[in-house]
Subunit: 472 residues, 3 copies
């Protein structure tokens, strides 16, 4: 089953060792503890222990960490035979990306006297950047080797840091929860990569591109953790005090409203009035994505719920009607449907953020205007201009993501990286020692079997190519 | 398998959209950020960021959130073919209930100048109220449509808020962890609902009302999360400082003692000296329920352990001996045995709280008496009277729960809500697109098969109706 | 399948009840709330609520709690038919051990006026001690009865507290994350126990000492939680402020580097260039173990990454080459390979700690030297001596662990404790009511089956004894 090109015995160790050794050297040369982390610095000035940024952000950091490693990792285990790779490659590329992101983000906006200063906030930002890479991973899930994924992460992290620098540092854009920098960027980058890596014969693996009963339950672990901790995600790097508080609350209500519209749309559009696990697992999260930019603003619970409500509708409609078009017409094979979960809701979030920003007034924000819109508060910029710049930032993000994905897609086509053949996509055993063959499913309650089954009632090795989780 | 009455294509979208739109409108009219969440308000006065309530309560909130969505959701996945519904309906009704609870609780005790003020504490309280609905869900698990569940949640949240208002605001009852308001209320409400929804022919689905090996492991995810985070649950809304600290500690030791008595009783009572997963999954949690009222009091670790120890014993005995009687004699079909996990331990917790309150003295509590028993501290009430009112509150709770469950049960009987027929209870495929039929189990190690198997050794579609998880 | 000796009907209840009643009595006599937990004490002095230790440590405590109950519990579910026992016995012995540890640790270093004072820090320490017992459990996994495990916990907790007292109190050793006190101690204690309990005929159960597809996914839940929360583990009891911050950060980077070296080594050494789940599940965590001692020191991210990088390499090599030797030559049947995950990385962590300590200077640590090396800061000890004492502490730990394991191993050999026979090891059904026999696996994609399968392609009750997870 493994031919020499997909054999990882030398390729994977080589790239892992080279990358890690480079990382270690660069960390040795460039990286220092920040003021709240360094023993001497923190004790140098008089302040209280509870003022250390650790206590403001570490609980949120751990929630974000769970989203990155459990949330993304298990969300992708829905495929019947790709659980090891979903969790395992997620683990590998995240562990690499967070180190590389520390350097890239530090290089662009964390330098102090020639050194990159790190602490809990840089750890959160590194996790955020990693999240963007994992979104792109979702688009190419099942069709790439771990070496390809590491190469993709290497470039994507770099471009992420560039885009983030342009938005946050040059343009003064607000995007605390990353509707643009994380979700829009990760989604369109990944969509372009998967477009370049288009496989016309992917239907040879179509019987594996679907879920089984227990794999959908494992995926729900990912979904629920992402859903629960999204308030922490959006609020993790907002300003201390009311800002973190408000962002968490806005996201909480956006997600709750999104869940109801997702269930409604799923029953309305899916086969025979039944709920579709694909929608529940994914679209219910769109409310978190869409609250990523405006979450820290005075969006109000009312506004948050409207945003979440719309995000859920858009996302389900995307899974149902748009994804098949994207695959058939545009040749975009988007395994996890990241366009529906991160792409469109990310754009929605950017637009909502632009509108909300343009409406900001001193009357509404009071002294808090300095936290949320410092340039407006300082009189350097009108709120309407801030709104315009937010909208411009979306365009910049889309441009960098698509162009970057184009280039990186072509790089990943190099045969040396060991991509799987069309016949063995969505299959763990090509890169993992797998302890058992797939389960056999037999029909016990005959009439209950629907046509979306991954495995047909009779134990056919290549069942009905009409898989449940095929979004195209 | 789906006839028109259970088809959700119109019913579910209709109720979801109507409910969510009403919620959004009411939030728009009534709801405002509270002082610690609003940008202008928080910056209006001089205080430090670390004094924002967010930092006192948000970590506990997230633990509670995990209990509601992962804990309750996965605890109910023990059924072999009801995992999608357990996690998925839990998700849906919780997302609705927390929004509705924000309004109902706010209406009764969060109004400021005609507006409901919300922040992290109201988010915790909304999750608490949601927990009560999920307890009731456990009683009717497998026998209700999602529309019925949303209707139940609509009414139960309202009654919960009424009962909570009577106890906490009118009577001055202390119940920080909700032994009465959450557990007793949710359990007896749900038991009455399931009584009214009694299905004489439920044994037609009995072969599905049982667990399989992996479904029991998924359920253990729920159990362990509930167990670990119960200290956060009980302490989430207690007063800042020693109160939160003490409540968490008391609950921790109550749960630890409960676990040992649960294992002891399970081996003592179960078949052939073997441990029964039903007991471990449920009874080991009774110590958290029973510490819900007295947890914030000076119960001492010693007292907490005694309470937990007894709760575990009572709970296992309930599963073993009382549940069959409730089903046979009182026609109460309690799928998850919520009477044993939430009902009796909740009553025990209320009694322990009443006794502990009646023993409160200024000598023991010092200045902390103002936090725990403000009415006693202010001299408005003797400790013994406080104890009496705690006991009265239990009676009030039982009354409202039983009467409310009676009425709501009859409402839920309306055929329009699409309840499943007796032959297709405990089955995901009636409301979900299911990707594969049930697994087939064959005997590999013949002698190891016990008579409680969900599926008999030979792959019989309707196996031995002697299920493992049937508590009746 | 159960003969009288392994029947737990009387043995398990008896030991649980006796232990719990003794615990309750001792708690009643000896244990008190500490200053930050007691209502009167905390209100006696003037300080702010946010200065309560609860807010510094409770989020970390909950992360540690998740590691103990979900992390360890699910990490051990990799065995195909031992999931109930892995999670369930983990749950039981942890619930006992944390109570007993409270007393033993309190007796040795928490006495105030004849009473043991407890609060969030003692809760963390109790969880730490419990972790050590669970490491030893990993060595004997599948081969012991729950009664044996409780007896082991009883003695191991006691010896842990003795060793901890010698190190932390008498020698002034620094070991915040427990490379020595927790990991080295737990691993070598467990290895000695499993050596004494050597079963020459264990190969009769060898067909069960392996994983299946879904059991490996459940195990990844444990792995990922351990990995994510290890920064909280190592920082949970370090000093407030920069110390907690720095320790978390160091551990984060150590783990990230370890993950890359683990994947590299796994592909390099495993069959056919494929990744081995055993390595990913375990060796990727070695970076957390190895940062346990030096994590709070000024190790720098650079140093942390080197340590993690080496730990991953050592750990994979141990699984691949050393474990078989330990089993064949030294008769150490180490089910989970704790020597590779906790033993060697723990020793590495101790050595790194000794070296880092010996290099400590006032110049680097500034005022923080008082936190990290109080004896050096006070001038009572040179840094080089501190380093020497750290090294000595490793020797002391190894000595106590090995001697303790020897004695406890012989105690556990008493037949009265109901150990399973050689033919029914690694099997839940001996101590649990199991609802279904094992799954049958049939070959659907013939060529993908590798020779490490737990179950051979044809449903053979006693398949190829060449299991995936057999580390020996």
């Amino acid at each position: 089953m493994t031919d020499s090109s997909t054999n990882m015995r030398l390729k994977l160790p080589l790239i892992c060792f080279i990358l890690e050794i480079i990382l270690i050297i660069l960390f040795g040369v460039l990286v220092q503890y920040d003021h709240d982390t360094d023993a001497r610095d923190f004790h140098n000035k008089s302040h209280h222990d509870y003022e250390n940024d650790f206590y403001y952000r570490y609980p949120s950091f751990q929630d974000v960490h769970v989203m990155i490693f459990i949330g993304f990792g298990f969300l992708m285990t829905f495929l019947q035979r790709y659980g090891f790779s979903s969790v395992g490659f997620n683990f590998l590329i995240a562990a690499f990306a967070l180190q590389w992101a520390t350097l890239m983000q530090g290089f662009f906006h964390g330098m102090h006297g020639g050194k990159i200063h790190i602490g809990v906030e840089s750890m959160i930002n590194a996790d955020f950047c990693t999240g963007s890479v994992l979104i792109s991973f979702g688009a190419v899930l099942g069709k790439t080797s771990p070496v390809q994924l590491l190469v993709m992460a290497l470039f994507e992290v770099t471009l992420f840091a560039v885009n983030e620098f342009i938005l946050l540092s040059l343009l003064g854009t607000r995007d605390a929860g990353g509707s643009m920098t994380i979700h829009t960027f990760g989604a369109y980058f990944g969509l372009m990569v998967t477009r370049i890596l288009y496989r016309p014969n992917l239907d040879k693996s179509k019987h594996k591109n679907c879920s089984v009963y227990h794999s959908d339950l494992f995926a729900m672990i990912g979904t629920i953790y992402l859903w629960m901790f999204w308030p922490s995600f959006n609020s993790a790097v907002t300003a201390h005090g009311d800002d973190q508080h408000r962002t968490a609350l806005n996201t909480y209500y956006s997600l709750a409203a999104c869940t109801l519209s997702t269930y409604a749309m799923s029953a309305l559009t899916a086969h025979d009035g039944k709920l579709d696990m694909v929608h529940i697992q994914n679209a219910a999260l769109a409310g978190g994505v869409a609250a990523g930019t405006a979450g820290e603003m005075m969006l109000t619970p009312f506004g948050s719920m409207i945003v979440g409500f719309l995000a859920g509708i858009i996302s389900v409609l995307g899974y149902k009607y748009l994804s098949p078009v994207l695959e058939d017409k545009l040749k975009i094979q988007d395994t996890c449907g990241v366009h529906n979960l991160h792409g469109m809701p990310g754009v929605l979030g950017a637009v909502v953020g632009a509108v909300t920003a343009s409406l900001a007034t001193r009357e509404v924000y009071g002294g808090g205007l300095d936290d949320v819109f410092p340039l407006v508060a300082e009189g350097k910029r009108e709120a309407s201009l801030q709104g315009g710049i937010q909208a411009l930032s979306l365009a910049v993000t889309l441009g960098i993501a698509l162009l970057g994905g184009l280039i990186v897609g072509f790089i990943l086509k190099l045969p040396v990286f060991g991509a799987p053949p069309d016949t063995i996509c969505f299959e763990d055993s090509i890169y993992w020692e797998v302890s058992s063959p797939p389960l056999v499913f037999l029909s016990l309650w005959g009439p209950s079997i629907d046509s979306h089954s991954c495995l047909a009632p009779n134990p056919d090795p290549y069942p009905n190519p009409n898989p449940h989780h095929n979004k195209a």
